[in-house]
Symmetry: C2
DNA sequence: CGGCGTTGCACAAACGTTTGTGTTACCGTG
DNA sequence: CACGGTAACACAAACGTTTGTGCAACGCCG
């Protein structure tokens, strides 16, 4: 049922190339008005749509980009995707979404598949530090931009100042009078976690405090891992009076175990999260957190990607947004 | 840089078709072991990957499916996407994600684009009742399955029993002793909203109660719209003692205005939501809601879609899951 | 009226695969 | 030694476009 150029040409009594030029509005096309009308009528009648696959083959462009993220189920990444789709749409692009679950293996296999499909570019939100997948992307000469997390500083990147964010969160806690501030750290293989931790350490140092290694506990980005890390902290001889969690979900996990132990927030321990994902403002208590603009991440990274596609040359633009501390009821003066 | 079959063939001193057969492991291929070895070495050396676009053109299959949803930012739809991606991966498929924002125009334009790209199938989670887009899909002969919402009963569909869900929610409220139960209804153009409302009405009728039209207020699926609807309810001469919201976000919106007015939940008014999206269990108070399995929605719909792709014939299978009432602290006996 | 510049198209190659059908050389058999 | 069979490939068409170039026919000018 899908009509082809050749069939149309036969019915219109012209050569396929002529039809092609009218559907593509070739500006240099000189054509008799009646012929054009005949062709246009036929197009309307048959509902002809050029076969995108054939077009892509000929044009060496697929008009598809891919977004690779750890997990759409995480509102941060969902927001990023929205951002890129919104700008991709305006350029006539569609976007393939790939979830990696933070598995290198899965990330790599997605990339091979995307390469085979000849996507025009990829936006990678799942990069780790010195990520081999990023090297692969370069090797394959696939235009790409890193978002939220970076791999190293040579590549196009859009995200926010996680170092500052870590400092903001910690300084807030310090200003409330906390001295034993713990950090629920994420994997140090990802830039965001690394920088937030560094920001935490910097803030402590600026305040003249010696960081206590036992207060920095490697957890992860999930509720489950945040909860486990919190439990380890509570087992300490002298538990912290405040927590800075690497992200909101870890903070929520910590809240849960605190509540189970009958500890009050912020009475007994204050908590600050990171990202300000939906609904954390409605938790019990509402979570103090660091706000970042996920949709703008997506939009900006897409714009940089398309810039590369248009100029045909890789960019190493880095745009970093300022994170913002939003103070809610989960933080207060130490008991 | 991307190698082609022809280039490989030249270097290997064989015909392109021979290479093609070895990469595709053509079972009927008789080949000298040494030739095969030479070719395989060349493939490994050059990192050759068949051009997927050319393959698609020849095979008339793109190995791409699309998921069309209102908004990924909504965890329900994000979950559905995860489900379909998981099974698509096992079949070597990639998936394009499209957001419609519940705009018919945007839905239609996405569909045209997907058709032009010749995607192998689509999973549609944004259908309205008697949706023209669904008709278009049939007309274009694109295999598809509806998920969560249906358009009419002739098409493949996977979702849950929203009628039952609506009854469950309402009966729970009734069993607590509520008599003035309001319903924050969603758009009656979508099956889920329509059925949940019908379930609500049925439960009332079974309890021998006459539904009060002023207690059914058309809101929408967002926090904002839920809030507005709640305000209208509070302006009533005799406000309700309980609310059944069409989804969790609307319920959250209602909670907000209740809190602003100093009304206690569930002391003054009870609330039940729908979907059990992440974090509503951690709200203040934790939200009673109806749980549905979004990831299974996605998985199942993908399986049905692939079934169609394999058999080459449209299916009208309908699989509906049982929703589950999960009782939390937002509901209690009327004050 | 010859030549030239347009106008309005047609031609054909190319994009990179897949696959049904040759075709050659060789081996074994009677 | 002729013949059939098979092993190991080569050939070529096709998938549906795009685009540089070719080429009639026509009108116009000197």
């Amino acid at each position: 049922m899908p009509v082809t150029l050749k069939q149309l040409a036969a019915r219109a009594g012209v050569h396929p190339s002529t039809i092609s030029r009218v559907v593509n509005r070739d500006p240099g096309l000189r054509i008799a008005p009646e012929t054009r009308a005949r062709i246009e009528a036929l197009i309307a009648e048959t509902g002809y749509r050029p076969n995108g696959v054939a077009r892509s083959l000929k044009l060496r462009q697929t008009f598809v980009v891919a977004v690779v993220i750890p997990d759409v189920t995480n509102p941060l990444f969902a927001g990023i995707f929205r951002g890129v789709e919104d700008v991709a749409l305006t350029r006539g692009y569609n976007v393939i979404l790939c979830n990696t679950d933070n598995l290198h293996q899965r990330e790599a296999s997605h990339l091979e598949s995307l390469h085979a499909r000849r996507v025009d570019g990829v936006i990678l939100a799942s990069a780790t530090l010195a990520d081999p997948s990023v090297a692969r992307l370069r090797q394959l000469r696939i235009p790409f931009v890193l978002v939220n997390r970076y791999s190293d500083t040579r590549h196009a990147f859009v995200g926010s100042d996680d170092l500052l964010g870590g400092r903001l969160a910690t300084e807030h806690l310090l200003s409330l009078g906390h001295r034993r501030i713990a950090h629920l750290a994420g994997s140090q293989k990802v830039s965001t976690a690394l920088l937030r931790r560094r920001g935490y350490l910097e803030a402590l140092k600026r305040a003249g405090l010696e960081p206590d290694p036992s207060l920095i506990v490697d957890g992860g980005f999930t509720e489950e891992l945040g909860a486990r890390a919190m439990e380890r902290l509570l087992a300490l001889p002298q538990p912290p009076t405040a927590i800075f969690a690497v992200n909101d979900m870890a903070a929520v996990g910590a809240q849960t175990v605190l509540a189970r132990r009958g500890l009050r927030i912020p009475g007994d321990v204050s908590i600050v999260g990171y990202n300000d994902v939906p609904l954390v403002s409605r938790l019990h208590p509402p979570l103090t957190t660091i706000r970042v603009p996920p949709v703008r991440f997506g939009q900006t990274s897409a714009e940089i990607l398309f810039e590369q596609l248009e100029t045909g040359s890789a960019s190493s633009r880095r745009v970093v947004f300022q994170p913002e501390l939003v103070i809610r009821a989960s933080t207060g003066a130490p008991g």
